[in-house]
């Protein structure tokens, strides 16, 4: 058997786990591990400029590839800088393994230099965490961390490594376990057939059904099964913010996303439906509006791998605990075998109603195109879609109005292509997430839709992009304001703009140029398409498009607080 030091075991375990990239930043508690990294070439380390960005890079990688992202940070400030990124991954159930350095075992608890209780600090935002006690435990612990991160409902797992156990002089027998078992952890492998049969009965009897599918369909690789079922039954489909792309966004049966900024058609269809098939969605408050008024005539089938997600905010009539792919597969089979279809007249009337809703708004989403003098943010997304749609792009976003415009106006036809922080709503997520994607998909276009507020939260990563030649495109919808905050201030605080404006903005073009990248300012509508085309033609370069957009624009529809799903503002003056 091979003898390795603790530090070398950490790195070898990652290699044996099949990890290609780790994103990190060195420091005292990790010097042994960084030395081990230096002496090998299987795992590629990407040096970020701030540890938060390392977590978002890992997260972007995980969302695009479906594999866990890996982060390596030192103790104390290195570890605490990852907290926002870990919470972001936790809220969206993203598989991630965070290896953090820790002060030597004997000094834990003494307030030693750069000591924080990482296990304690991260406890509420991890799926699980380990403090490794002995070097010999490193391979098995790392194996367990990966196993936990990516099975069941995925999530981030922290592995805290005291410095003494990684020292490079003491060597131990190394063997990476092929399998690990955790007796208290048995995620479901399939659904309950009886429940699934009940659900199929309801589906076949439904007169006004809607499929409401969420991020779980993407995490559970069930897009194909979902699409097949929806097509077979000719049912309308909505995908949540987290689930966009799970069902093809350009398909006729797609109603757009539901919820606070969801489409008129999706929100009305859900409100009036008699059956909701919820798949890997969690009835988030940003979808349901008031839960008491939620979909008054609908029966609810809820498929989720996490039993705690079922009947948490909205009670399910037919709960099915299990991984979404095999459950949907079984549903497809049962529907096929039954030889039945739902009442076609009822379904026809339902579609007619939905088409009326859709047409009455001129499509899924619509906006006032203005006088052609100012660039509308929605128009930027529409043009971005037209320019990139044939090249299978990845789109990440930050948080704010620009995020909602991207979710509304970009049509995602495939899963894992739309990458945003849905649950935590983390400004600063989009750019490093795009970098994580670009690293693994160097030949695909990767664009980050952002705002001048959000981009400044991780702008230091322009330097990392220079170092690793990451040709991401940054589409900055510059409205010179914290637009989403200002929208709420317009609607609820009589336009008292308390700290929602962005003064002293840098000259973004000069800024990115100073890092050796390409900056393009876009001020007039007619400049937009050529600028986007140029940006994507410069394949290997980071291009920053600073687009001056109409600062007065609001995101609509918008749910009216405490109402039902059909209660919406449709424009500044019009409501349902």
């Amino acid at each position: 058997m091979e003898l390795l030091s603790g530090a070398d075991m950490v790195v070898r375990s990652l290699a044996d786990e099949g990890v290609e990239y780790i994103y990190g930043y060195p420091g005292g508690a990790l010097l042994h591990v960084y030395d081990a990294l230096f002496r090998q070439d299987k795992v590629t380390h990407i040096l970020v400029r701030h540890e938060q960005a390392a977590t978002h890079m890992a997260d972007g990688y995980a969302r695009a590839t479906g594999k866990p992202g890996v982060v390596l940070v030192t103790s104390g400030p290195g570890a605490t800088n990852t907290i926002t990124g870990i919470a972001t991954a936790y809220m969206d159930s993203i598989p991630m393994v965070i290896l953090s350095g820790q002060v030597p075992s004997d000094f834990i608890g003494t307030d030693m230099f750069q000591e924080t209780d990482m296990i304690g600090v991260s406890r509420p935002i991890v799926k699980h965490s380990f403090l490794v006690k002995k070097a010999e435990d490193i391979p098995e612990t790392i194996r367990k961390a990966f196993y936990l991160a990516q099975t069941g409902r995925p999530g981030p797992v922290v592995v805290d490594l005291p410095k003494d156990i990684t020292n490079i002089n003491d060597k131990y027998e190394y063997k990476y376990p092929e399998k690990v078992k955790i007796r208290s952890y048995n995620p479901p492998q399939k659904g309950h057939t009886g429940q699934t049969r009940k659900a199929v009965e309801l589906l076949l009897k439904a007169r006004r059904p809607v499929i409401y599918s969420g991020g779980g369909v993407i995490l559970g690789h069930a897009s194909e099964q979902l699409t097949r079922l929806a097509k077979k039954l000719n049912m309308p489909v909505t995908n949540t913010l987290m689930g966009l792309g799970a069902y093809p966004g350009s398909d006729r049966q797609f109603l757009g996303m539901p919820g606070m900024h969801g489409s008129y058609a999706a929100n009305l269809a859900m409100h009036h439906s008699d059956l909701i098939l919820a798949v890997g969605a969690r009835f988030d408050d940003r979808v349901t509006n008031s839960t008491e008024k939620f979909c008054p005539s609908a029966k609810i089938i809820h498929i989720d791998i996490d039993p705690a997600s079922i009947s948490k905010t909205v009670t399910a009539d037919v709960p099915i605990v299990g991984p979404v792919a095999p459950v949907l597969e079984e549903m497809n089979r049962m529907v096929e075998d039954s030889g039945r279809l739902p009442d076609q007249d009822a379904l026809g009337n339902w579609w007619k109603q939905i088409d009326d809703w859709r047409e009455s708004r001129g499509g899924l989403f619509g906006y006032d195109r203005g006088n052609g003098e100012t660039i509308k943010p929605q128009q930027v997304i529409e043009t971005l879609y037209e320019v990139t749609r044939d090249s299978d792009p990845f789109i990440t976003s930050d948080v704010g109005q620009h995020q909602m415009f991207a979710a509304q106006y970009f049509r995602f036809d495939k899963p894992n292509r739309w990458i945003n922080s849905g649950g935590l709503g983390t400004m600063g997520f989009g750019f490093p997430a795009a970098m994580g994607v670009k690293l693994s998909f160097p030949d695909s276009p990767v664009a980050c839709v952002t705002g001048e507020g959000s981009i400044q939260m991780n702008i230091q990563e322009l330097s990392t992009c220079l170092q690793y030649d990451l040709g991401v495109k940054i589409i900055n919808l510059n409205n010179q304001a914290l637009g989403m905050v200002r929208q709420w201030q317009d609607m609820q605080y009589n336009s008292r703009y308390s700290h929602s404006y962005m003064e002293s903005l840098p000259d973004f073009v000069k800024l990115v140029e100073s890092y050796g990248h390409v900056g393009i300012r876009v001020e007039r509508p007619e400049e937009l398409r050529p600028a986007l085309e140029r940006a994507f033609a410069l394949k290997d370069r980071l291009v920053f498009l600073d687009v001056n957009v109409d600062p007065g624009e609001h995101v609509y529809p918008m749910h009216i607080k405490d109402g039902s799903m059909r209660d919406m503002w449709l424009s500044k003056t019009e409501r349902t």
Partner: protein, 163 residues
């Protein structure tokens, strides 16, 4: 409604803090909590009493089950069960009160475990209600100090909580 949840957890450092943390993080209340290793040294057993609407209790058990360290759990209040709490209570016992306190302790089947010329320390076990009733019977004015273990319990009959 009051509930008693028994939980088997891995006897690992950090396991207890995850459980207690879950309660504060998700705004559930803990009325009492007892914990000790079991006859199998790799496991600890916790007993938690809590109160809440049925949906909240359902969430508590689901969220507890989700913790990786939690091996198994049961809501004892769903079936018939035995529950006990232990109390040590220090009571003023001088003059005429001395005999009175002794009599009350006997009625409640308490044991006097420590004696001074003016103080009795009484050990009492039973349901939480019984312990409350004893304190009331003694009268707040005579009570010097109280310590209670929190509730522990198990299901009646054949039903067991084990691996």
């Amino acid at each position: 409604m009051r509930r008693i949840i028994s939980v088997l957890v891995e006897n690992e450092p950090g396991a207890l803090s995850r459980i207690v943390g879950l309660f504060s993080q998700r705004n559930y209340n803990i009325e009492t909590l007892t914990v000790a290793p079991t006859e199998d040294a790799t496991l600890s057993r916790l007993t938690i009493t809590t109160a809440g609407k049925p949906q909240v209790i359902e969430q508590i058990t689901k969220q507890l089950n989700k913790l990786i360290d939690v091996v198994k759990l049961v809501d004892l209040t769903e079936g018939t069960h035995v529950e006990r709490e232990l109390m040590l209570i220090k009571v003023r016992a001088s003059g005429a009160m001395r005999a009175e306190v002794k009599r009350s302790a006997d009625i409640f089947r308490g044991q006097i475990v420590d004696v001074t010329s003016s103080v009795y320390t009484i050990q009492l076990t039973g349901t939480s209600d019984k312990l409350d009733a004893f304190i009331e019977a003694i009268g707040a004015a005579s009570v010097l100090e109280v310590v209670r273990s929190g509730v522990t319990g198990m299901a009646r009959g054949e039903k067991v909580l084990s691996l």
